[in-house]
């Protein structure tokens, strides 16, 4: 979840490596301060958020999400994802797997080209042979549907 969090905050690979390592070392040093009655994930991501903001200020690194309020919001949303069944993130992603399988063929194709093959929309447009604007719309629609699907699953799990 930590890498998911840092990527969602806009870290590129290099920054993610730095913040990940710093977060783990700080967590190790401060483990005595961790309140075991509380969930571990938000605590760790809280350290990551502070590390991220401190690093950005000190080294002028570019982070897309650079305010604590937004980082807190990401932290809370990811904690909700943790409610899905499973011990590992991979198991928790079964819910997303199910949601992806429910997308239309054209929307799923867009998602797979973008995230499995790491193609940018322009390259996707050339590959599929449709207008760039259509690719962008399909991607947006697909992500919104996935978000809604996950939300429904979360609501169902809670109830």
């Amino acid at each position: 979840m930590l890498t998911t969090y840092l990527r969602a905050a806009g870290c590129d690979d290099t920054l993610l490596d730095d913040v990940w390592q710093e977060t783990m070392i700080v967590a190790w040093r401060k483990l005595d301060e961790f309140d075991r009655s509380k969930p571990f994930g938000p605590w760790l991501r809280g350290i990551a958020a502070r590390t991220l903001l401190a690093g950005r200020r000190s080294a002028n690194k570019v982070v897309l999400i650079d305010d604590m309020e937004s980082l807190d919001y990401l932290n809370q949303r990811l904690e909700r994802i943790k409610q899905f069944d499973g011990d590992t993130l991979d198991e928790k992603l079964d819910a997303l797997r199910d949601c992806v399988s429910k997308l239309s063929i054209t929307d799923r194709e867009c998602i797979e080209l973008r995230f499995r093959e790491d193609l940018m929309p322009a390259a996707m447009s050339q590959r599929i042979g449709i207008a760039l604007e259509t690719v962008k719309k399909r991607l947006l629609r697909a992500k919104q549907q996935l978000q809604a699907c996950l939300e429904r699953k979360l609501q169902a799990d809670v109830s």
């Binding site: 783990m24 190790w28 760790l44 999400i65 309020e69 991979d90 992603l93 978000q147």
Partner: protein, 319 residues
């Protein structure tokens, strides 16, 4: 939380994108990051043990050194709790990770069946089955049948003290060393009573390898479950430690389901040669199960022992 709806929407989009990346492409850098962080933490711990060798610091440093590997184990748990998946580890690290995960996910109250085979130069191999109960407060209680008729004994305690309830005579309480000495006289082993101790030791002084996933028939229900199997072989030689520890951890939960300990021992020596420790169903236990009161009748004499000599006096008086 007073974020604008547009901002929330952008953040939700960022999460979906990040999840989709995790979903489609496993991060190839996870193993490198883990190796790097374990190295960094180990270096930090090593520096702390070597930078100050003054006599006043020696004890503190020694304590730190003892705790160092425990700290590393905790650090590894941090990594695991952070949601890292075993398949990203190299097989050696994965074996370590399984042991650490077993430490992390141990249930609050556990019952184990311990089948112990001990060697004796005169009597040959003797086998008994004991019951071990542990809780998350580091308390334990063991019913050991003893090696002879009427030899049954209950032993329990925590990090500070031990209590013993023999079949006959007074029950007594005392420090770990005193009670350990009494148990040794009765040829009843105590050093490995705590499964966590075995797992910690396994992570520390054993070379770990990971076998292919396997199945295990559970001792209580007979159910066949998928397990990860870790083999720990003792680095160097120490006749008090098992030469080999095998761990079967349930694949879905990581819980240590079986531990098998094997000692290398000359035929002329006495002592344990094989223990098999199986996790049983979580039992409903009375609240006083882990203290002396749970195992003695009202009016039973209880003696607090301060020294080994005092213990011998009590036993002689009783005879």
């Amino acid at each position: 939380m007073t974020l604008e709806p547009e901002r929330q929407s952008a953040l939700d989009d960022a999460i979906i994108e990040s999840l989709l990346r995790e979903f489609y492409v496993a991060d190839p850098n996870d193993e490198r990051r883990i190796a790097s962080i374990l190295n960094a933490i180990e270096c930090e711990a090593t520096e702390a043990t070597t930078t100050d060798s003054s006599s006043t610091q020696l004890l503190v440093n020694l304590r730190f050194q003892v705790n160092r590997w425990v700290s590393l184990a905790i650090a590894a748990c941090v990594l695991l709790v952070a949601g890292l998946v075993f398949t990203f580890f190299s097989r050696g690290n994965a074996a370590y990770a399984v042991v650490m995960r077993s430490l992390e996910v141990t249930p609050k109250i556990r019952a184990y069946r311990m089948q112990m085979v001990h060697q004796h130069p005169l009597w040959g191999n003797r086998e008994v089955t004991a019951d071990l109960y542990l809780n998350d407060q580091d308390q334990f209680a063991v019913r050991h049948p003893g090696w002879s008729r009427f030899g049954e004994v209950w032993i329990g305690g925590d990090a500070k003290s031990r209590w013993v309830v023999p079949r006959f005579g007074p029950a007594f309480v005392g420090g770990e060393e005193i009670v350990g000495s009494w148990l040794a006289k009765k040829d009843i082993p105590s050093p490995y009573l705590h499964v966590s101790t075995i797992l910690h030791r396994m992570s520390r002084v054993y070379h770990l390898t990971m076998n292919d996933d396997t199945t295990l028939t559970l001792a209580d229900s007979g159910e066949i479950v998928a397990c990860q199997q870790i083999i720990g072989e003792l680095r160097g030689f120490n006749k008090t430690l098992p030469s080999k520890i095998e761990l079967w951890a349930k694949l879905d939960s990581g819980i240590a389901q079986r531990l098998e300990l094997t000692w290398q021992r000359a035929e002329s020596e006495r002592g344990p040669i094989r223990w098999t420790i199986d996790l049983m169903d979580s039992p409903e236990l009375p609240s006083n199960w882990f203290i002396l009161d749970g195992h003695i009748n009202e009016g039973r004499r209880v003696v607090s022992i301060k020294s080994i000599a005092e213990l011998e006096d009590v036993e002689n008086d009783d005879q």
